[in-house]
């Protein structure tokens, strides 16, 4: 009897303890939430990131997770008008070029200083260009200097031609850049995050260029890991890797309109469902790239789903190397007629996706609206195959696993739809699936695939950034070197990019686009898909960027 009573008391004590713990925990959770909204200015915003940034020196980066952070810390000579892919003045107020387009003069904004208190001026700009051009060793590999190599070509003394020739500080606010040739991509390409201007003093002090290959990767400098120093509206505070949080603070000395938030925090949550749940529970205020399958439920729950203008392309790549039948234009045209893009877009892709006719979106220069259009016509496809003597043609169709991309949010669904279409048009499809980073990319790049799903998100508004990247050298994933027109296409692209006169250049790109569709057809454009981002209803002032380069300075959290 006594024993029972004691046990009973213990049980009550245990229940009481558990209850007290739960109440105190919930009280803390509530007080944490209450402190979140502090009106139009001030407060902190926590944004969910899908991955860890590689480092905080944007020159050595090529991934979106890094750029999302560095975009708030640094500025470039030119920036992007919010919500568009058009450039606007940023650290340069205006610019002008010589008639041959090889000498560019930039006038710089006055009264700007870096976060370390040193002045931003013409010498600082030239120090940055010289730093980029003088990379050696590991710093000169594509894994680190990807955007320089893609846009400027070679480095000093490495034998490869470079677009960059010299930089001269004419006076405090005037920079003269000398290029080795004209390219239509300049100065738009300077809007890319990699070409942000960094503090030469801080870079020297913390040995920014001290990057080296080690093991299977690279080790970055102290500058890149702990001391990023720009002129932007936010300053770097800390990267708490143990908790996966990057903290930025408002730059009180900012030269423009100061950021509204006191603190901007990026929290790494690798799992997509976990990001969604963190938003639902109020632990974060927003995140990028919600899965299209979640769009409706997020909207219904009252979150602000922002759909960006699509600035990408999904294509069905054709490699002419391993299946001789694919060298025949009629076979490639049969593929184009076989795919029902309209149905694919409406059934498999998210709201706002559009069927693609060319290899880049309409917002990009040189878009030829009158380029040949291949209607969905399986009978025509069968007829073309028969004419080519390849009825029942066996083709390998490659698709990637373990990945989603903004242009390919559902690889398996897209693959399924295309497979069905191709089989209905008389092709025999052999599916090949491989993990994205586990062989797919490697093998597609060396032209091992026959038909494959891949795409591209534009870095800036230029046709060269799309079709120049795809077909600018004949040694590419489409194996255009195997075609009589491969070299010619590469030459035409070079010529168009080097054409100084705007109207003339536009006409050349339009002509290339027409030929790409009617005569070459090295791949079948499928669709442009809009990536989205989502924020809590209290988050105001965020403008979605088609290039995913959102700025958080105008963002506030309302009560």
């Amino acid at each position: 009897m006594l024993q029972t009573r004691v046990a009973g008391r213990r049980r009550i004590a245990l229940i009481g303890l558990a209850g007290a713990l739960a109440v105190s925990m919930s009280a803390c959770a509530e007080s944490e939430r209450d402190s979140g909204g502090e009106g139009q200015t001030g407060g902190q915003l926590v944004f969910g990131a899908a991955g860890a940034p590689s480092n905080f020196d944007p020159f050595y980066a090529s991934d979106g997770e890094t750029f999302r952070v560095t975009r708030q810390i640094y500025e470039g000579l030119v920036g992007l008008e919010p919500g568009t892919s058009n450039i606007k003045p940023e650290l340069a107020t205006e610019w002008d070029s010589s008639e041959d387009g090889k000498t560019w003069t930039f006038t710089l904004k006055e009264g700007v200083q870096f976060h370390d208190g040193t002045p931003f001026n013409a010498e600082a700009v030239c120090a940055n260009f010289e730093r980029w051009y003088n990379q050696t060793g590991a710093g000169a590999t594509a894994a680190l200097s990807y955007y320089w190599i893609e846009n400027f070509g070679g480095f000093k003394g490495d034998g490869k031609p470079s677009l960059y020739e010299s930089c001269t500080a004419e006076n405090e606010t005037t920079v003269k850049l000398q290029l080795t040739r004209f390219t239509a991509r300049f100065p738009t390409m300077l809007s890319q995050s990699s070409f942000a201007i960094q503090s030469p003093t801080a870079m020297e002090k913390h040995q920014a260029d001290n990057v080296k290959a080690q093991g299977d990767s690279f080790v970055f400098s102290d500058y890149a890991r702990e001391h990023p120093t720009g002129t932007g509206p936010f300053t770097f505070v800390s990267y708490d890797e143990a908790n996966g949080a990057i903290e930025l603070a408002r730059n009180e000395e900012y030269h423009g309109e100061k950021a509204k938030l006191d603190k901007l925090i990026f929290r790494v949550i690798a799992d997509e469902t976990a990001r969604k749940q963190a938003l639902e529970a109020g632990d974060i205020d927003g995140y990028d790239l919600p899965a299209p399958a979640d769009w409706d439920s997020l909207r219904e729950a009252g979150f602000n789903l922002m759909i960006r203008d699509p600035f990408n392309i999904l294509y069905l790549g054709i490699t002419q190397k391993n299946n001789p039948a694919l060298k025949d234009l009629k076979v490639r045209q049969a593929l184009a007629h076989a795919i029902d893009r309209e149905t694919l877009v409406s059934s498999v892709l998210p709201d706002g996706a559009q069927p693609a006719n060319l290899y880049y979106p309409e917002a990009v220069d040189g878009y030829a609206k009158d380029a040949k259009h291949y209607d969905y016509d399986p009978e025509k496809a069968k007829q073309l195959l028969a004419e080519a003597g390849h009825e029942n043609l066996n083709v390998e169709l490659w698709w990637p696993t373990q990945v989603t991309r903004p242009y390919m949010p559902n690889p398996q669904g897209i693959f399924g739809a295309i497979q069905e279409d191709l089989e209905a048009a008389g092709f025999t499809v052999t599916p090949v699936s491989k993990p994205w980073a586990g062989g797919y990319l490697d093998q597609v790049e060396v032209a091992d695939a026959q038909l494959f799903l891949l795409g591209w998100t534009g870095d800036y508004n230029s046709p060269d950034n799309f079709i120049g990247t795809f077909f600018g050298t004949p040694d590419n994933q489409f194996w255009t070197q195997g075609s009589p027109w491969g070299e010619e296409l590469a030459k035409q692209l070079d010529e168009a990019d080097a054409t100084v006169d705007d109207a003339e250049r536009e006409a050349k790109y339009e002509e290339i686009n027409r030929k790409l569709k009617s005569e070459y057809l090295p791949a079948i454009p499928i669709s442009h898909s809009p990536p989205a981002l989502v924020v809590a209803p209290e988050v105001k002032g965020l403008v979605a960027s088609p290039l995913t380069q959102e700025e958080f300075a105008p963002v506030s959290i309302s009560g």
Partner: protein
């Protein structure tokens, strides 16, 4: 005892050496690799080849292996390519290791505190309601997929009821001092009670989810073991001698029933890492389990190598400790070792 310990340590080294060869060969046999992780869809065939050369991935595999071993012996396991690009893998591991240990300890603690008393009580009142609930509960605990349980707990307690955070190890923006890397302990050591409580709140749900299997297993082993011991002659003798229930429980039943439980706790601790992979992913817990999951997805060889080798070492070490503690608890084993 010492010779036994030395022999076990040598066995451990051999296991690690063999494992490193197998692991290295296996990872390199997979298609793709660090180059894809670093370049993504931005690389061309040329830039890929250039990068392979820069990283020494174009060398014969045995050269790569010996380079790896040479560097690993000095603690350099290479640099992460996907989990936290640019961070030395060893540094990443050491930083994340306390997170996983903290989570595992939390889980084991929950399991021990709950399962041993419950197991004992269930055995004492065999066939009673507690016993029946315990058996059904432990069956559910063992069979329910851990990620599902994690989702369920999170959905109910975090999202619907808002009682606990959905993930992470500490609230962001909380300026907590870090000493050991164990956040709860750090809060206590520095007397930052807010930080300690905050860390505890973050720890509770993932630890609870992770505790499900060890809880169930320890409950069942304790129950079975106590039942076995209670049927032993010496317990009957003790009863017939008129010893009090408390003395019988403490001196005879619990002490002897604990042997299989200790073994189980050891094995369960070692096995926690596999559960941690899922739990840490669901709760955005920056531990080695999450690093392993992301590392596989992004083919981060350096991180996979350091985590798998360290996990194997931890597993073997825990088992060694279990065997040694066995010897401490049961003198007969010690004597057997001498012979």
């Amino acid at each position: 005892m010492l010779r036994y310990a030395i022999r076990r340590v040598l066995q451990l080294l051999l296991v690690i050496a063999v494992l490193s060869v197998l692991l290295f060969a296996w990872l390199r046999s997979l298609p793709g690799g660090p180059v894809s992780a670093l370049l993504g869809d931005r690389g061309t065939a040329e830039t890929r080849a250039q990068l392979e050369q820069a990283l020494g991935l174009d060398q014969p595999i045995y050269v790569q292996y010996f380079n790896f071993v040479g560097r690993a012996l000095s603690g350099d396991f290479g640099t992460s390519t996907g989990v936290s690009p640019g961070k030395p893998a060893m540094e990443l591991f050491l930083e994340r290791f306390p997170a996983t240990i903290e989570l595992s300890l939390g889980a084991i603690l929950i399991a021990l505190i709950g399962a041993i008393p419950l197991g004992y009580m269930a055995a004492r009142r065999r066939g009673g309601w507690l016993d029946n609930v315990g058996i059904v509960g432990s069956m559910i605990g063992i069979s329910i997929p851990i990620f599902f349980l994690a989702f369920l707990l999170k959905y109910v307690l975090s999202i619907k009821l808002g009682l606990l955070p959905t993930g992470g190890r500490q609230s962001v923006g909380l300026d907590a001092t870090r000493v050991t890397g164990f956040f709860v302990l750090d809060g206590l050591l520095t007397r930052e009670w807010d930080a300690a409580l905050d860390a505890l709140k973050h720890l509770f749900l993932p630890a609870l989810a992770l505790a499900s299997i060890p809880f169930a297993v320890i409950f069942r082993i304790t129950r079975a073991s106590v039942l076995d011991v209670m049927d032993e002659d010496y317990v009957r003798t003790a009863r017939s001698k008129g010893l009090t229930a408390r003395v019988i429980r403490d001196r005879h039943v619990l002490r002897n029933a604990m042997l299989p439980v200790v073994t189980t706790v050891g094995l369960q601790t070692g096995a926690l890492l596999s559960g941690a992979v899922l739990t840490e992913t669901v709760f955005a817990w920056q531990g080695v389990g999450q690093a392993l999951a992301i590392g596989f997805e992004r083919k981060d060889f350096p991180v996979l190598q350091v985590v798998i080798i360290a996990a194997a070492m931890a597993y073997v070490l825990v088992n060694l400790l279990v065997d040694l503690s066995y010897a401490v608890i049961d003198p007969r084993i010690r004597t057997a070792q001498k012979g």
